[in-house]
Assembly symmetry: D2
Homo-oligomer: 402 residues x 4
């Protein structure tokens, strides 16, 4: 049941590894190819063009399309969802690269793009939806006809910090130099009115990095905070009792029963109603969430199975929490993930590939997971975000004065 | 506002480190002590007794009580919860050690004990509840009067596998010898009709360890499975398409677009209705969840923020998922956690200290987190559960024949 | 001071990523290129050819040559070493890929090739030498003229276990399937009279994997063992006292003073003279080194700064130890590195790229370090070698019977 | 062959865990005990006293002695070493705690104490020696008679930074607060003319932390540097070519062939003769080793198996390198280990327990290995030393001004 199609590739297809990956994939999936035409850009600014006749399985064409191969231009096909949350067979699963569908004779961009979702056609619009939001009768895109994915191409410009992405994930990198690059990037984004998301884990509270984080919010460098119940409780516990999970914020000494101060902090929020009211009543006078409330910076607290309490502000249904995060993800220019595996990966799953992403973690596994998304815009730093943030702050202050 | 009380310690208080920890804690928290009486067991089977006059803060007495110090016997005190989910001030936060309250002139055991919860008095019963289930008017235990905690004591018996617990977490341990010990333990528990919970993460599907896991279920060695949406999907994806997250189950080669087979597996479950129906309809014919359905072994799939889909069987509300897991946790004799950080820690948080717990993970951090719960019944193994499970299975078969 | 040269590329240069990497490198190093000729193999068995005019710095041509670009054929150039251990300026540093020099009108292979060394011309022979062995007056190859490096090309054959190499290093791989592949590979090598080196670290003794290792030696699957003083002492200590570094081999319990049994084991070897004599005198009757002596399998014990003792057999001068390892490295068909960072990386540095290499470690960092050597023959497994080895042994026995 | 002895314990034996550990050990090793006398210090400043009759194996008494139990006072026993490097049977292996021997009717301190060595009696002096330095006929201490070890006791003073040692090794600690504590400690030591050793690994060069390190030397905060060939070469390579192992110091981009700059740096040192001459000739004008030469700060470069080159300054014989490090270890007041596993552990093995030790590494395994030495003076920080050092420097400058 092999398919034969002529596919086309355009752009910087050789040094952006598009052509090699296409040939590699054909061989991996036991297809055959014949190169019909190959016009190579003679110098580095010229684009190249290649036409290849490919014989192979449907899975092979699936992979090729994902790599940016254009199949012959045809109208996009859809099928109606048979039930709520049930997709038609052969549905098209999205990538996080910019995608267009050929609809009514023209290419339409897919809106609110996110990877591993489906495309629903609504009138003359194409919208990306997660499976759980698909309703019976929705016209879901199926097959590969009429779909164009813009795979990222190697930049011809001099390298910025995100040009370093190709290098391996390792603690043996010039971190000090990277911090300066990140500060420049953040300043440039803010000078242009851009949107920066910080995703933060509990280590940010334990280590004392919350001070720097709070100041970044005050200075206007953070437009949304994603975190979990653990960090949120500790951020409040620290102001109320000087501890995080019962660990003294200065000495690191842990009172085992000090865990109770964690539960007591949760109870204080319930007594006040929620975090915003707690701040408004003056119960706490500092911290990351305090600054969020004071500076109208939205925060999303996504629940997890290991939560105590949880806080009234914590969204315990994980799909609802995802949808709340989705509201901000599409606006983002930069996303900085600090010491957060669960929330960091969850955010990474929803980010379009055009959003610049920096993952900072002491654990190389987390950085690899986040960086390995085939984008030109991800930078991983294996270092301690707790010690990095104060230096990032110092650098941003220096840039501001200059 | 210092308190002065005479506390008592009984049992093997010296070599079980109870007395030293008590003195240590008094000094750490800037209290003073005078030892009024100390009768030391002269030989290793004799118990010891110590009476100490302590002066210090309420926090100090909080810590001492947790260490097993008995305060003078008084009736337990309660206060009514002012609102749903709001605790009275000075509520008592539980440990996971066996606990009694002195009520109506007698010591009553606290039921369904779990750490970091509260105790509610219902008639002549004391029940442990998580904060979210406390209703307005519930009589919540406050203060420390009338509470007795049985801190674990050093076993006088020759060591079983759980006697190794005191050693540091490290891959440099006689793993081969530990596997035999674990097999003996599992066989003994099953011969007595005991209850074994396995908590499993996605690595169990990726690596091929699911074959051994499925056989353990068939052989009757697993009474409940806790897992997440990721593992559950992969377990089904593997039967339908031979991949896990698009990675070929034999070669490990990843088709990037193969991710679609993950989404397709989710869709197949939605089409069938749920996992049970999928098995009953014969859509899948093997795997861990298939064996669970066939052998009436209950499974709990707890949702997380990074889930795709999720499956209809996945409990997306994390507090509901916790409560479903709670149904089995109290019955457990042994809990084996394999390559599961989120679900493993969540389970660990709910386990009473009497439940023997084995945490097996390639990542020492996970093992440390799970083992560091002050119990005499936790064993951590830093090794690859994927390679360990087949050997555990072989050993169990050998023991059965013998 | 830019150079202009026409370079040539031949072979499967597109899907083996040679052409893309060449263009990428030119742009990175701010060179310019014009593609003069590009004949692309139309199907997957056809070779391609490309001629490019490149303008750029000497560093750029350095990189291109390493990628397999052929510079115009010229006689190789040399310069005399000015002093012992001092190289002439502009010396050529080797890769670990097969290399030829153009000498007296013909291409001569470079013997005893190893990366990061230099090439010395001796008569009509080209020999690879480490800097420390270069003598005053040696004719050391300089510049890039007359040097041809065969960069590895993508195999056209169906994949064997080493075809999986391109996938990322992760514990989430089908380990069970890989073990079978490795067993097949080892059997095939031994059936052809090949040479297998095992590099082993201390964890192999601690965990109990030494039993399987000893049996692999008895069965003839290991032709040389590289290890350190630590493993060697523990291997003997275990036979004499049942401990490794004082840790009981069955319970894992550590007697702190048990460390003395480590020192005592060292002393016993000194009393016997060395390990061979200890075996011959019957002082020890089993273990890895015992089997080495009994089966005439050579072993190299390379010293390190943290050694106790060390043993009389331990080579305390690290350069001498390297040279002893070099004697076996050139003969190897397969090198299996188990839980050994220092000795594993040291061996990796010396292996020609044609030697198949398997790195097995619970620590992904070690595996990445070893795999990241640009070869098509390296396979990394993030798993516990202690649990893997017994299964490898079982699999090899099964293959033998079949 | 059981021994019966009455042992004595003195000091803060309960809360320093000495008595509990003694009882625990007796039970572990299947001994019996009867407590003959126990006088407990009634308040926290009073010392306690305990006399116990113990029945058990020689190994048991070995362990007890190490825990600080005093055996009845007897003259120390010795035996002559039968050959160079061969110890008499039943030799006494040292701990790293202060130790005295009872010789000619008085307690003599053991000089140049180091763990896992032996004690040689020379006239009325007791000297600690590593096995390799023992000569035929040396009088080596044997057995346990007449040996007194001072196990560390819990400090009664308010806690300094090293009082935090009991807490687990984890990245979730108040690092920001610890940096301040370390700076105060370093300043206090320097104000008293103390001696600080820094042990540094290659990551210090890669990441850019070498700038801060160089300034600490200039400011007089480092009295000796221990490192390896890798760091030393990179420190020079960076000044000559702006790279470390071929990685650009600003962008982190790695030129594979850039590795040659590593070899070229080695060659430049050989051309100059050694590092000192290179500095004196003005070939390099900055860096850590440059500052060492300029400020007469001694450095020891200990060789390892994976070294390239190595440099003329690198001590390739590991035992000679150890002995060179030993010259400084005994003088140290503080030892700071940054990102160095091999050299860090080697140093840790030689440090007396009285030397305050701080291990800073992004890898918790390294920190655990270094901290787990039973001393009250070790502090482990799981963080990135590269980002920590600049902050430590800022803090020291601030303290100086204040």
């Amino acid at each position: 049941m092999d398919i034969i199609e002529e596919i086309e590739l355009k752009g910087h297809i050789i040094d952006s590894l598009i052509l090699p990956r296409v040939l590699d994939t054909i061989m991996d999936l036991k297809g055959e190819f014949e190169i019909l035409q190959l016009d190579v850009g003679k110098t580095k600014v010229d684009e190249s063009y290649c036409k290849i006749r490919v014989t192979g399985s449907p899975e092979l064409f699936d992979e090729l399309e994902r790599l940016g191969a254009m199949l012959p231009k045809k109208e996009v096909k859809t099928a109606a969802a048979p039930k709520d949350k049930v997709l038609p067979d052969n549905f098209y699963g999205t990538t996080h690269h910019p995608t267009h569908v050929f609809l009514d004779g023209g290419w339409r961009p897919v809106r609110e793009l996110e990877m591993d979702c489906v495309i629903v056609i609504e009138g003359d619009k194409a919208v990306c939806k997660r499976q759980g939001l698909v309703k019976k009768g929705d016209l879901v895109v199926v097959g590969l006809d009429g779909i164009k994915v813009e795979a990222p191409q190697r930049s011809r410009a001099p390298q910025d910090i995100f040009g370093f992405m190709s290098s391996e994930v390792s603690p043996e990198k010039p971190i000090i130099s990277y911090i300066k690059g990140l500060a420049r990037e953040m300043k440039a984004i803010r000078d242009n009115g851009g949107f920066i998301i910080f995703v933060v884990g509990t280590a940010m509270a334990h280590t004392g990095a919350d001070e720097a984080l709070a100041e970044l919010i005050r200075m206007g460098y953070i437009q949304a905070v994603f975190t979990g119940n653990g960090f949120a409780v500790m951020d409040i516990e620290k102001r109320l009792y000087g501890t995080t999970l019962g660990m003294d914020k200065d000495t690191g000494k842990v009172l085992k029963r000090g865990y109770k101060s964690h539960l007591a902090a949760i109870n204080e929020v319930w007594k006040a109603g929620n975090i915003r009211k707690m701040v408004e009543k003056g119960v706490i006078k500092g911290g990351v969430l305090y600054e969020c409330v004071r500076n109208n910076t939205p925060y999303v607290i996504g629940g997890s199975l290991r939560d105590d309490g949880p806080l009234p502000d914590t969204i315990t249904d994980v799909m609802e929490a995802q949808d709340e995060m989705r509201r901000y993800v599409q606006k983002a220019d930069l996303c900085v993930i600090c010491a957060s595996m669960l929330h960091g990966i969850a955010t990474g799953n929803m980010l379009p590939s055009k959003v610049k992403t920096v993952a900072i973690d002491i654990n190389p596994y987390v950085v690899t997971r986040l960086q390995d998304r085939g984008t030109t815009h991800a930078l991983g730093m294996v270092t301690d975000p707790a010690v990095l943030l104060p230096q990032l702050l110092t650098e941003l202050k220096r840039l501001r004065k200059a």
